[in-house]
Symmetry: C2
Amino acid sequence: MSTPNTPCEQPPLHGLRVVEFSALVAAPSAGLALAQLGADVIRVDPPGGNIDVRRAPLNADGKSLYWANLNRGKRSVELDLRSSEGLAAMQQLICTAEPGPAVFLTNLAVDGELSFAALSKMRPDLIMVQLSGSPDGGAAVDYTVNCAAGFPGITGSGRDGPVNHVLPAWDLLAGATLVQAVLVAERHWRATGHGQHVTLALSDVAMAAAANLGYLADVQTNGTRRCADGNFLYGAYGDSFATADDRHAMVVAITDKQWAALLRATGLHTVLDAAAAALGHRLDSEAARYAARELISTALRPWFAARTLAEVAAAFGDRAILWGPYRDFAQMLAEDPRCSPANPMFVHTTHPGFGSFLTARTPLRFGALPTLLPGVAPALGEHTRSVLAQLQPRGAPSAGASERE
Amino acid sequence: MSTPNTPCEQPPLHGLRVVEFSALVAAPSAGLALAQLGADVIRVDPPGGNIDVRRAPLNADGKSLYWANLNRGKRSVELDLRSSEGLAAMQQLICTAEPGPAVFLTNLAVDGELSFAALSKMRPDLIMVQLSGSPDGGAAVDYTVNCAAGFPGITGSGRDGPVNHVLPAWDLLAGATLVQAVLVAERHWRATGHGQHVTLALSDVAMAAAANLGYLADVQTNGTRRCADGNFLYGAYGDSFATADDRHAMVVAITDKQWAALLRATGLHTVLDAAAAALGHRLDSEAARYAARELISTALRPWFAARTLAEVAAAFGDRAILWGPYRDFAQMLAEDPRCSPANPMFVHTTHPGFGSFLTARTPLRFGALPTLLPGVAPALGEHTRSVLAQLQPRGAPSAGASERE
């Protein structure tokens, strides 16, 4: 038996090669996670880049900070897939991984020569992991899946109609699920030598979430139609409050212990008990406090309004109180030590053409495995020549290959 | 070499046993995903259940639809970990997996006898995957991480202050990342025989997302302070609209092709070009349309307001148009074939004590691997006796074990 956390010199996914043909968030974020775990991820783009190459946010020179972050640690190959030479090079690139499995990851609508049927003829043990918008292969993006999946109708105050979350939550969750697919398929390959086609639909990711949280069952068994409810926590007590210095704080009291600590810190025990008794509310359970949430917030609101955020923080020194300040992205960087080099996940990294900024490694910390640096994105096509040369050791890069390297 | 999609009789994660000690969403959703892929997941709870056992939504009998969905396909063991017998049984349960690795998954603050240091003395190749709120091990939940991570300030109209997304996005994303951790650590175990302690902080999941999308780099390199911007898509054109029958639709035009299709379907080409020329706007690129988004929405709004959702759908027959109706959870079930038994992900399943409702399998479809049925949640403690009996073949269940089976 080994000793715990036996150090290993190789990164977690050493030896796994993935060809990524992708755009936007979902598959690129999956490729990023795989690269951050040590896989050799080769992103293939058409000459000049795919539709996400100039996606916002941009820097002052018009270069994409989005692309530069989502493609870190990958190699970049440009191929003109409209030419037969480019297509042949792509097939060869996908199918020639050795000694590990050949993994092809895509969220684009590939068919013909890049379909699983065609590629697996060339490489019978191919692993192809493919994301579509809908299960029928139809197009959908995070925004058009999100509107279909119920959540915008219960987000925000309800006064302005449905509210989209701005976080591309479905794309990120689909990306993390694609990583699971690659790892499970590789596990099966290692056990049996067999490849396979694994598919995932973005809409299924969203609809499974709505089902798994019980929201669809709530409709089917209770006929519930949930309404938007501001920043109230659902099912227990929690709400957001403005402070005297125009900041905001989120306060959560799920357990009795958290609730007792909140009452102690605010000194509102007597007041709230009296008000609850007068109005026929109880405050002695999670469900009762959820029912009394407006009353509780009515009592807490002036307490926060009379204090600055710093005064709230001082009053909430008890670790039993579950709360936090709202911060915009600039405030995260300025105020939160978790968003600074004090957190080993973040490293100040120089990105050629962009300067230095705080950059994230994988959030996973493996006791026995080395963590890679956050890495930087390749220049578009930076590895076209070197990658294709390995495919065709006796010839020059083919006519279908971009040669801007 | 094998043939493509060679069928295999075992589910994807056959042979992997995971002991889950958890509550709420993140770790339970990870255990659910693992169980849905065929792992043997044993959830351990204190007698009577953990803090999520009665979490909303509930059915008419007060039973949790949330718990019943997030714990499907698992076995349930009740153990009183305040007793030394219960604690010893828990240690034995975690450390005795054979022939696969011993995997302990938790999002609770375990220490002492259940720490990695203690458990790995009993099982040197233990894999322990542990989620905390903050990197220092401090408590945080989705709501108190979300307020710290910048997104509420850019969600909604901005008129009411920060807007929480209601989707527990960080919990679900952390859950999917925990599954990655289990799979990567198992991969390492199979290669080397070594276990390890893998840790993840919920706040790191959120802050890595803000970094990986370029939002933190945007602050650091451009000094940007993004504002809430309603339902506008960021960086290209997209917005939501009310229809004549009080429904809403989301419309997205990222590419030139999508934009051209939208203009064709609405017939607004001439009108919009004239208005744009008059106001000095251009409409011929993604970035230009983002800059002109209010103008574009001003032109589109009356078009939608004059049509019912069905009329919009008829006008948007062109598949090049990227759009979708907003649906609440009831409308998803009533209207969307993707949220019905027509989608193989969903299966009408009878849940003892709850009746039948549409239940989700894993959204991943493996060509070579069988898909499990969605499964049902165990009764709390349903497997206490049988699981403990396997640990202690010569004795009765210990005094620390609940015996409500």
